[in-house]
Amino acid sequence: MSPLRRHRQLTRIWQSDPGWKGWFTTVNHNDLGRMFMGTAIVFFLIGGILAMLIRAQLATPRSAFMGPEVYAQVFTMHGTIMMFLFAIPLIEGAAIYFLPKMLGARDLAFPRLTAFGYWCYVFGGSMLLFAMFAGIAPDSGWFLYPPLSSTLGSPGINSDFWLIGITFVEISAISAAVEITVTILRYRAPGMSLDKMPIFAWYLLVVALMILTGFPPLILGSVLLELERAFGWPFFQVAQGGDSLLWQHLFWLFGHPEVYIIFLPAAGVISTVLPVMARTTLLGYAWVIAAAVALGVLSFGIWVHHMFATGIPHMALAFFSAASTLVAVPTGIQIFAWLGTLWKGRPQLKLPMLWIIGFFATFVIGGLTGVMVAVVPFDWQAHDTHFVVAHMHYVLVGGFVFPFLAGLYYWMPLLTGRKRFFRLGETAFWLVFVGFHVTFLAMHWVGLLGQRRRTFTYEGGHGWEVINLISSIGGFITAIGFGLVIIDIAVNTVFAARIRRDPWRAGTLEWAMANPSPAYNFASLPRVSARDPLYDDPALPHRIARGEGYLGDAYKGQRETLVVDIATGEPLQVVVFPPNTPLPIILAFVTGGIFLGLLTKLYWMVPLSLIGVAALMALWAWGLGSRGDDVMRDVGHGLNLPRAATVPQPPGWWGSAFLLLADATFFASLIFGYAFLWTVAPNWPPPAYLEPGIIGPLVGLAGVVVAPFGIRLAERHLRRGGTMWPGVALALAGAAAMATAAIMAVRAAADPELHAYDAIIWVIAGYVLVHVALAAGMSIYATVRRYAGYVAPDRFGEVRIARLWTDYASVVALIGLAALQLPGAVT
């Protein structure tokens, strides 16, 4: 087959449907990555316009432009949009678009999940935009502290839009994180062992695991606060055993890791782009990875530094202050690794490098002021002033926006296939860079002079007027600069000439393909033996195009890529991806029905949508798997590999395992919240604790033992060619027993509106019920698949998935039900 014919055939296999339909049915990461990034940039523009409104309002004292109510919506939406609808989705989009290319794969592990996440993001984001244009946007600040954000301070629907809309959007973060993790671990080029992985992938692996463990506390907090607002379950109301501090803990347990979830991908961009700009390789690859991992781990231990002024005990303050200053160490290692890289190379002042210099000058200041506010006494003064506003913008804009702009210009050839011809980019850089510092540098000072954040105007006479005016002028210069960046990219995309392959002469695999990237990425999958495959073997791109790698034969019109061993990168299986389908957008739409029902209080929509979601998911999973034909596949070079759907731990098992990591974090946060209220909330103990009794715990315990045993029995019989029914029946009986115990606990509890304790019982029991139902559903599903021929004695992966969920349900039932009975048992 000639390279051109191969290109045509593979393009036909991988491209999206023609016409407008293609937008809604595509599951290809090339399209979805671009759509994610494009949508995130639209949100950046909206958030930017809100920032301009803020600066217009604050330019002069006693401005009559906005009143306090409108201003509250504007700053809340600015922060919310920038954090949740711009930064995180832009990262997801970049990961989705670049990771398979850098790793040497043709797509991400779960293409339809990518699309589903995208549509959840669009629908959830639209809810918030709707609220904003209707003038009923959330208005208690981006961290939404109750009681102000609860029914007491915000009786309207404003906070509900945040709680429900953002939770909807978080589905996309969790699904992206699951598939980024699985992709990095298992979907790489043959021979790409962990120590040969591009540094960007290492960063994203850390980030994805952080999303899986960082977002669940926020999702839990949102669920609890929405339950309080909608049904009066008093988790955060002190009179009935709640505590508003619980929200702060849950929020910042998410919120601080979030800051590093935003920074680390940007650091990954720098670690990738900077060495190329200096014509060298990264100094201290292993050090940088260790630093990224250390940052990820440390960032979970320092959330309390956002709560230094809440009256936390002094010892705790000292601990969290020490931990917070300590994060400067891994950050310092990265900064000096980059400087050392520049030092050993020959840096060239091209446009991406210019943005990286902008990053250094800005982020270092943000890091230094960060260390300042980590020192508790200083934070008591600086907290909630414009000093903090300045600090966080130095970190977020300097540490995230600038590196991503460096990356945008660096990877533009791949995205658009064009050379830069009109040189607006340099002017834009200087406008943004100078404008930014004009806006935010003096803002530190006005904060120290006492200007509080979130005040809609101010009186003259504090020495604030000049600084605020300068700041506003700087803000508008910055905005013009960003406008110019967008014009630059648009103009160059449309008018500039095509560009040759690998224009920067970089070494990573994404440059082995033509520009713009073809829908299938690699005509054949190369074997790599170095960290920079293109430096190692400059002829690699030609060999790929000539089909000399693996899977170069466009077999049967299937979308295929390789699954490799985690550590060594040796190919183990061939995966066949699903084709274009509208299923993801339909599923996202029906999922939206759940959220819309909750928001509008049309509660009948919720169970209806849930049934729809379950049906669609069954349909979704039905298309996967193999009936046993065509199990082995000759991938080239004499290698014969099994289809991934036929192995004991198929991709779905890996996806489930990492989804359960997020789920377990959610559950752990719930137990943490329960323990926190028990020990810290003022109005405890509740009027009465649950009486454990004998029957409930015994029934529950029996279920916990029987269900995992049953599903194992089913697997054993299946693998011997027997029937699954006895085992599945046992598993279902176990599930029923656990469900019974949970229901008995709820029925013994008091009304959940009475006390936070009773409300917590309802939530924990509800959580157990949901997981027991999921496990039971999967066991039944696996049995049905047995009759359809997908599950067979030598293809029992789906039973393994059911087993994983059954085990998880049993563990949470054991812990959850024991936790409910504990106070009653000890008192």
Binding site: T281, W287, S321, G332, Q334, F360, V371, V376, P377, Q451
Partner: protein, 227 residues
């Protein structure tokens, strides 16, 4: 009404770098030291960055400057020396300093201490006094000058934060909890205070004044409640 009048003039200063009491003073000193240190570090990093450009760039076509024998030595200098040890030393010093100061700002037992209560609500402050149980003032807090004062901070509705920048840092008023902040004014005078945690549309106007009295003024206030 009186507050409005009082807020005019230089007494409305909210500046943390114009301290009028020991706590704010210690923190202001901390700030200036940290500013000096941060400036030095920033300049140092920028100089290093500028120096990396000391050699002219090479043409595009050149192969990357690969690993050479010097790589190990480089890692030692850049990563161990500058990346690891340098921040560790600086941070350890800063942390120790911060902890010592934090210790000093704690509301320790002291026979001279005067206790007052600050109760926040949307959008006013009510102050009461341990030494004069019947006395309640709204939006004006009276304290004796040159005496340590413990402010016991509570709220009846949402979260507020009690902040008199020229006297001390801020501390939150949380539903169901009582937080104690130690403040002290060196000299008699009026000091502006604000609520620092966003608490709804009336946030901007949620201000108060602290009046520090000399000894006679204070006992006069305690006996007849007049400022």
């Amino acid at each position: 009404m009186t507050t409005l009048v009082l807020l005019v003039g230089c007494e409305n200063s909210l500046s943390t770098v114009d301290p009028a009491g020991p706590a704010a003073n210690v923190i202001a000193t901390l700030w200036w030291i940290m500013l000096a240190g941060a400036t030095l570090i920033f300049v140092f990093v920028m100089v290093l960055l500028a120096l990396t450009f000391r050699r002219p760039g090479v043409a595009d076509a050149d192969n990357p400057v690969g690993e050479d024998g010097a790589a190990r030595g480089r890692e030692k200098v850049w990563l161990v020396g500058l990346g690891l040890c340098f921040p560790l030393v600086v941070l350890a010093a800063l942390l120790a300093y911060g902890l010592v100061i934090g210790e000093r700002l704690l509301p320790r037992d002291d026979p001279a201490v005067v206790t007052v209560h600050a109760e926040g609500r949307q959008w006013e402050w009510r102050f009461s006094y341990a030494d004069a149980p019947d006395l309640v003032t709204e939006n004006v807090l009276h304290i004796p000058a040159a005496t340590p004062v413990d402010v016991r901070i509570t709220t009846v509705d949402v979260i507020h934060s009690f902040w008199v920048p020229r006297l001390a840092g801020k501390l939150d008023a949380l539903p169901g909890h009582e937080n104690v902040l130690r403040i002290e004014a060196w000299k008699p005078g009026r000091y502006a205070g604000v609520s620092a945690e966003y608490n709804g549309p009336g946030f901007l106007g949620h201000r108060f004044v602290v009046i520090a009295h000399d000894a006679e003024g204070w006992s006069a206030f305690l006996t007849d409640g007049a400022p």
